[in-house]
Symmetry: D3
Amino acid sequence: MSDEAIRKRTKETANKLFGKGIRLNPPYLMWREFDKDLANDFSKFITGNLYSRTVLTLPERQMAACAMLAAIRAGDELKLHVNAALNVGCDPKKLTEIFFQVATYAGMPAVNEALEVYREVLKERDEWPIK
Amino acid sequence: MSDEAIRKRTKETANKLFGKGIRLNPPYLMWREFDKDLANDFSKFITGNLYSRTVLTLPERQMAACAMLAAIRAGDELKLHVNAALNVGCDPKKLTEIFFQVATYAGMPAVNEALEVYREVLKERDEWPIK
Amino acid sequence: MSDEAIRKRTKETANKLFGKGIRLNPPYLMWREFDKDLANDFSKFITGNLYSRTVLTLPERQMAACAMLAAIRAGDELKLHVNAALNVGCDPKKLTEIFFQVATYAGMPAVNEALEVYREVLKERDEWPIK
Amino acid sequence: MSDEAIRKRTKETANKLFGKGIRLNPPYLMWREFDKDLANDFSKFITGNLYSRTVLTLPERQMAACAMLAAIRAGDELKLHVNAALNVGCDPKKLTEIFFQVATYAGMPAVNEALEVYREVLKERDEWPIK
Amino acid sequence: MSDEAIRKRTKETANKLFGKGIRLNPPYLMWREFDKDLANDFSKFITGNLYSRTVLTLPERQMAACAMLAAIRAGDELKLHVNAALNVGCDPKKLTEIFFQVATYAGMPAVNEALEVYREVLKERDEWPIK
Amino acid sequence: MSDEAIRKRTKETANKLFGKGIRLNPPYLMWREFDKDLANDFSKFITGNLYSRTVLTLPERQMAACAMLAAIRAGDELKLHVNAALNVGCDPKKLTEIFFQVATYAGMPAVNEALEVYREVLKERDEWPIK
C-alpha cells in the first residue's frame, strides 16, 4: 500500500473513532511535540493499520479495546476509547455490561474505575443516563 | 429467582461454555476441594448470574473475556475461555484478531502469550490451522 | 439462606465496614445508576456473602484486603477499605506496618501510594498522627 | 544495631520462616551466585530487618505477604511464603480464606493461581486435605 | 562499612539525584511521619546502598529506573526519577526515546502516561521544548 | 523510506539482535502462522522501525528493554531480549545490576524471576558464571 493510501486510511479511521463526542487531547498531539516523524509512524501503524483492519468491525474492535483497557485499569486511554466506541455505534448498554463483566477477571477496582470513566464520558456527551 | 432456578441456569451455562472441546480441570473442582459451599456460591454467582446474563450474547461475552484475559496475561484462565469461546461459536479469525489488537494496549508480551495459548487450544481441538 | 436473611446480613456488614469514618461515595451507588438489579446482586455476593464470612475476623479480613489493594496499587478502593479497617478496629500501627511490608513484594511505588492514601484517610478521620 | 546482631537476627528469622516444610531453592542462593555481597545486603535488609520487625506477629506478617503475593499473581514467591506461613503457625483454613477473598480485588485468575500453589505446598508437606 | 559512612553516602547520592530541579515531596519525608527509624533504614538501603552502587553509572541507573517506572505505569515515582535523571546528566532525547520504546513491551497507555509526566517535569524545569 | 529499505533494515537489525546465542522460537514465526501479512507489518514496525532507531545505541536500547521486561515480569520475552542484549555487546555485569535494581520499583518477585531467566540464558550460551 502506498504511503499516500496509508495516510488517507489513517485520517479516515481517526475521524470515525475520534472525530466526534467529547473533546480530548489525543496522544498523537503529544507524540508530535516530542518527535514529529515517530508520531506519524505510530499513528500510521496503530490507526492506519491496526485500527483500520476489517476482521473485526469497528464496533467489535472498540468493545474489545474497552474490555482490555478496563482490565488493565488504564483510565485515560479508556476515556478515549469509550468515546470512540460510542462514536462508531456501540450499544451503550453493552459497554456497561462489559465493564461489569470485568469483575470476574480483574476484580472490582477495575470495574469501578471503568464505570467512573464511562459515566463521566456519557455525561460530557449528554447521553446520561443511558436510556 | 429460586435457588433451584439458579442451579439450573448455572448448569446450562456451564455446559454451553465448558461442556465441549479440550479437557481441562475447571477451577470449580479445585474450589470444591477447599470449600464445597463457597465453591457453589462462586459458581452460582459467576456462571449462574454473570455469565448467564443476556445483555451481551455468549459469543460477545467470550470475546470480551478473551480480550481481558489476554491483556492481563492470565494464560491458564485464557485457556479455559478461549476454548469456551470456540464452543459457543466465536469466529476463530476474530479471536486471532483480538489477540493481535492487544498489542496497542498491553504490548507484545501479552500478544505472544495469548497467541501461544490460543494455538495450543486450537491444536488440542484439532482445529489448527484456522481455515 | 433466604433472600431476606442475605439482605439483612449485607446491610449489617456494610454498616460495620462503611457506616462510619470518612464520607465516601460507595461503588454500590454508582453500580445502581447503571443497573439496579446487578448492583444488588454484587452487593449481596460481595458484602453479604464474602465479607460476612467468619473464617477470618473482620479486622483480619480488612488487613488482608488492605495488603492486597496496596500491592495492586488500587488507591481509590484502598481508601474505602482502610477506612473500613479502622472502623472495625484494626490497629493503625499494624496497618502502617503492612504498607511498609509491601516494599519487598510490590516495590516502593506501591508503598508510597498506599501510605499517601492512608495518611489522607487518617487526617480526614482526625486520627493523625497515629498515637 | 551491630552487624553481628543483624546477622544473628537474619539467621533466626530465616530459620523460623524457611527452615522447615518443603524443600525450595531460596532466592538468596541465586542472588549469591550473581553477587555475594549484595546477596547479603538484601538478606540482612529483608529478612534481618523487615521480616524481623515485631509490629505484626510473624503469622500476621505472613498472612499479609500471602495476600499480596496472591493479588499480584507471583506464584513462585507465594510458594515460599505459604510454606513459611505454615511454618510459623498460620491457620491453614485462614490461608484458604485469604485466597478466596482475593476474588473481589484481583479477580478469579489470581484466586485460582494462589489456590493451585497452596494445594501443591500442602500436598508436599503432607498436610492435604486440610482438617 | 560503618553506619557513619553509609549515612554520608546516602546524603551524597540523595543530593546528586534529588537536590536540584523541580520541588517534590520526597517519599522519605512521608515515611518519617509514619516511622522515623524505618524511614532511615529504607533510605540507607535504597539510596545509600542500591542507588550508590557503581556497576552502572548514575545516568545509566536512572535510565533503567525510568524505563521500569514507565513500564509499570508508576507516574508519581517516575516524576521523581525523571527529574533525578535530568539532574545527573541523562540526555533528554534519550529519555524521550526510552518512553517511546516502552510501546512494544507495555503498550501505549504506558507510553502516554510516561510522556505526560516527562513533559510536565521538563516544563517545570524550564527545559521544554527539548533542544 | 521505501518498503525495500525497511525490509533490509528489519533483516539487519533482527540479525544483530537475534541472529546469535541461544536458539529460540521468535514470536515472528508464530505471528506468521496466524497472519502472514500482519506478521510482516509488526516485524517492520517493531524491528525495522523502533529497534532500528539510533537515538539510543543498540546496547542502550536492550538495557532499557531488559529493565522493562523484568519490571513487568514478562519472562519469555525477557529471555529473547537478554539474549539479544548479550549479542549486541551489553556488559553482563551491568545486566545483573539492572535486575537487582528492579527491587526498589517492582519488588523481589520481579528480581527473582528476571535473575532466573538470565542465569538460564547465560548457561545456554556457555557464559556462566559471569567473569
